[in-house]
Symmetry: none
């Protein structure tokens, strides 16, 4: 099934917003066996939108529009669709009820322009937008499908995942295409590819491997085409097993897992609790941990000692150590972790101290130098990292490195052997 | 000068790579007065590339291609350009010399496929690629300009900045286009548009307004076309001033500012320090604050009391208050802020307590209920919010709400009147 994505919005054409919606949809559609033939970005202009729809329908069975469905005057997509199909708007009562419930729940008055979002083209099937007021719109004409979605990323994602793809799967004979993503942490892309090169070279022709590196981790996507769905899944599973045997300690999860969710599950499984003491990561490690729903079951809290006096005061780090070794040192990070473990009365504590940059580096302690400590019932483990010069990435990589230290510890504790944490 | 960007690459159409080149170029071009009318992404396919060039030239004076100039078999752009212009390749000796110097400097042998990158269409003017082997290609035909650039982001950026834009500025009368983004916090898109509707309706025809909502804030982009650059800038400035008079307390910055960077500047300017005590935001507020380089000048640290016992122990919240009112209450959040201010010896302290969800809600205290307190030299201010059901957005909106409370306080402190923080 061939598809064109049409992204609508002036903000995309002046480069104010990067078109992540299009790449996300392209990835989701590809995974469902839909071939995205073209992505076109046009302004909030009725004529441009209509021309783009016409051109896209010439070559594709499916056309997906995103953006321009909001309540304000610059949103032109609904008008363009009405002109294109030569139809009028009608009030869709269930959508209006949904809008009023949404606003009522937040205690905000419903304005006329919000109510107007329940006006939809008369030939459209509305797709409920659980997170917002503008419904998705589904049109069928001459055997082709046109879908119009709001541009707010989380609204669009929910609509694609929960409405658009299920409807396409239901109504169409989508070719069999399947992929699985293996998440690894602890080795860079180049070294990793050396280590698995033999396996990669021997992959069957219908199976493809892609490296998707992100700061601090590398995702490996294995995808396969075929005619028999069960066979394709079986083939992928076999290759995933072989891959895991090569890098058991690097694999931490699959597909939509995150390091923080995997560590959270392991803490629950092992009945252990965690606290943190953060310096250079400045709360980001705590944020990752608490972004997991239910993290209050195992996470006690954190002391963020951004100022050195706090390391001494609240965390009880030895003053002499701070003077002698400096805040960014193995000695201090060890004390931070051990002190946090005591103060929070937790089974484990992670601590970070480093130079996130861009300022603050010295020849001895350059930007990117980070110490991470894990205190637990046994001996405190300390790791030293030398990351790069980018503040945001240093913060993220330090936090992921800390979580990965705990993951390896819990992996040993749970004695899962070499089959990976989901094995 | 109207322009279309054509991005070439299969990896863009399966969503493996987000098209940051296009948004970066769009932003650079807009800033130079070039109007990007469309961005089209096509696969590494000769026919698709030729069709895209033809269609783009129908409506635009400038067409910029990126990608597909590499040395491997899947790079088709040069072939497509030769077919389109009906020309052959010739060896451009200075480019070959450049390639051999590049490889020599890295001590890598030059392969034939690398040498072949010095073969360029005979009607092309090569643009030296200082960072790589594939030169940019500049074509002129029938008063139109076609530019082809390599897809490697830093090679492309250098070519655009150092060759393409200077050449365009030199050779063309670039039309004047200018835009400014006003950042607001504290009111949703719909209510905001009601409040400024009269101003919006009276905008001159050459000025456009766009709403760019994000969780927790709304960006307003004002853009204008014109023939006289100074006049256009003056017109925009006038409209920005009028807008600010309508919503002085909502505007927190411009263009690439963030709430955390603006608050940081205000703290530096006022010589004040800050600490935080976080419950429901779980470190995200601290992370926002510390994501700003140099935040150690004003930020002392945080206690994240995810577990109630920590609120009592480390933060010294009254046990009776916790029992009587619960952790999510105005009474407790006030004590958290005041205690953090004392423990960290800071001028201000922000505290958050709420139910981020998805679990943990009750009829009295539903998911999305959040209390934020700001303790300072004066009386502690407490705000109550009712956000939505999405954990991640509740965390972000709570953190932004907290920063905004501090911004308003510092705004008063710095006595900037009603002209906005940059006024």
């Amino acid at each position: 099934m061939d598809c064109e994505i049409i992204s609508i919005g002036d903000e995309l054409l002046i480069g104010q917003v990067t078109n992540t919606n299009a790449s996300w949809m392209a990835s989701e559609f590809s995974a469902s066996g839909i071939v995205v033939r073209r992505i076109t970005t046009v302004p909030d202009d009725t004529e441009d939108i209509i021309n783009a729809i016409q051109s896209a329908l010439e070559k594709n069975k499916l056309v997906v529009l995103s953006g321009g469905l909001g309540p304000t005057k610059d949103d032109m997509t609904k008008e363009a669709l009405c002109i294109y199909f030569n139809v009028s708007l009608f009030l869709h009562q269930p959508t209006l009820d949904h809008i009023e419930r949404l606003f009522g729940g937040r205690g905000i008055p419903v304005l006329q322009k919000n109510r107007d979002q329940a006006l939809i083209p008369e030939n459209a099937i509305p797709l409920t937008n659980i997170h917002g007021t503008a419904p998705g719109l589904w049109f069928e004409q001459d055997g082709k499908i046109i879908v119009s979605l709001p541009g707010v990323p989380y609204e669009l994602k929910a609509l694609v995942t929960e409405s658009v793809i299920p409807r396409l799967v239901e109504s169409q004979q989508l070719a069999t295409f399947f992929h699985r993503t293996i998440l690894t942490q602890g080795m860079g892309e180049s070294l990793l590819s050396e280590r698995i090169s033999r396996w990669e070279d021997n992959l069957p022709v219908n199976i493809k491997l892609a490296y998707l590196p992100q700061p601090g981790l590398v995702r490996l996507r294995i995808s396969a085409h075929g005619t028999d769905r069960n066979l394709v899944i079986q083939e992928i599973d076999e290759q995933v097993s072989r891959l895991e045997e090569l890098i058991p300690e690097l694999v931490f999860g699959y597909d939509n897992d995150t390091l923080e969710s995997v560590v959270g599950e392991m803490l629950v499984k092992s009945g252990r609790t965690l606290a943190t003491a953060e310096s250079c990561t400045g709360g980001y490690l705590a944020h990752l941990i608490t972004s997991v729903p239910g993290s209050s079951r195992y996470y006690k809290g954190s002391i963020i000692s951004y100022d050195n006096s706090i390391k001494e005061g609240l965390l009880g780090v030895n003053k002499d150590s701070l003077v002698k070794y400096g805040a960014v040192s193995d000695v201090v990070v060890k004390q931070m972790a051990e002190s946090a473990r005591k103060k929070f009365n937790s089974d484990y504590a992670l601590a970070t101290s480093g130079i996130a940059g861009p300022g603050g580096g010295t020849p001895d302690k350059p930007v990117g130098l980070v110490f991470v400590a894990l205190a637990g019932p046994g001996e405190t483990v300390i790791s030293k990292y030398t990351f790069g010069e980018h503040r945001g990435r240093n913060i993220r990589r330090s936090s992921l490195a800390a979580l990965n230290m705990l993951r390896l510890e819990l992996y040993r504790l749970l004695s899962l052997g070499d089959k990976g944490i989901n094995g």
